[in-house]
Symmetry: C2
């Protein structure tokens, strides 16, 4: 390694694709406005270089705190982007993460490391710095696949919710209508939901029964997986 | 980035977990015998530092060629391991890959970068260098999940095969018996197999019909996914 040390000049960064779920809106993504060159003043994913004494997961959490003031409800490694030429300054290998938050519980706050932090609809993204559009495309594909075989993202709902809110979460993430009857049947068959004795009135329809998640079952399915076949 | 350049001292490497499928044997993994310190003389995953002008995928292919003389039939990024302290020499972030080969078509050949290259049963692995056992554990889990929703690894079979060989591939990768009748029904329902008019005799049983893969359908399912629910 000593002989290679002087040969290799590659930096390691982390970037985060954080999805925000707003009830009855398109899926959103957190972007920050860059305050340094290159792409100064342009929008980009939150992220930055990893510190020498810092694990990758800690680096991405720190960057999210510094650039947007948030701590995601769900965060996992997505993919590592390392092609030559993806950063005009220096070879940078970026370990990208995928995260989810419920924006109602997270006020954005751009600290010193960014000029601004905002939610953008995935259908109205600005032009992005570096290869960040490609990273977002891959993150969205992963999220849409993942939600079909793992109960990811259910923690974006409030603790108590009506069934239509869970349906909306799926419809929003998948980005298209789903077979609602089949979806309800499947979800109920997994024993993931606990009925409460409470109801919630929405609009002019009948009040909907409030549900909570069975946390034990949720963890079990996170580990073992399920399958919804939403197509 | 200029100010950070001197601050960051992290190297980027690639490592590969290459699974080999031998008919009627346990799943195997390719290991190389290290010829440099640390862990000199010990077994490890093939891999090494990325060159400055080389993409990550190219780096792992080069290392596999140099250390074991092979080119995998299937290769994809697995996960990036970057915790501090995982290499005693220097902070090294390793982008790990998962690959599959049919060893009958790949003779191992340890070139100058390793003292030996061999297949080991996943049930009889030697003590491994660095955090490579952990990388293998995660690769195995990924492969076992993946094969349930994507037709990965079917290219480990010969071009023409009897159905029991496909069953064996699944049983070997999953590491336990499967519901054969249900499996056959599912596989056939996806239209993935073409029947040939040829038969192959194995042991004392009736000759089995030879199948080939419908490559078009294979590609389609690789993209869209399926679900086998082998449990």
């Amino acid at each position: 390694m000593d002989s290679l040390k002087k040969l290799q000049d590659i930096k390691v960064a982390v970037d985060a694709v954080i999805f925000g779920y707003f009830d009855k809106k398109d899926l959103h993504i957190l972007l920050i406005k860059r305050n340094v060159e290159p792409f100064k003043g342009g929008w980009a994913l939150p992220g930055g270089l990893v510190l020498d004494d810092e694990n990758l997961d800690d680096a991405v959490k720190r960057e999210l705190q510094e650039e947007a003031g948030i701590k995601p409800d769900f965060l996992e490694q997505l993919y590592t982007f390392g092609n030559t030429g993806r950063d005009p300054r220096n070879r940078v290998v970026s370990v990208a993460y995928l995260g989810l938050v419920n924006p109602s519980y997270h006020e954005l706050f751009a600290d010193s490391d960014a000029d601004d932090a905002q939610w953008f609809s995935i259908n109205q993204l600005p032009k992005l710095a570096f290869d960040h559009q490609k990273i977002i495309d891959i993150a969205l594909k992963r999220l849409r696949t993942k939600i079909q075989y793992q109960p990811v993202g259910f923690n974006l709902l409030n603790d108590e919710f009506v069934f239509s809110e869970l349906e909306n979460l799926y419809t929003t993430i998948i980005g298209k209508e789903i077979d609602r009857r089949n979806f309800r049947k499947k979800i109920m068959s997994y024993g993931l939901l606990n009925e409460t004795s409470q109801f919630k009135k929405e609009g002019s329809g009948r009040p909907g029964k409030l549900f909570t998640f069975n946390q034990e079952k949720y963890k079990e399915l996170e580990e073992e997986g399920f399958y919804f076949e939403i197509k």
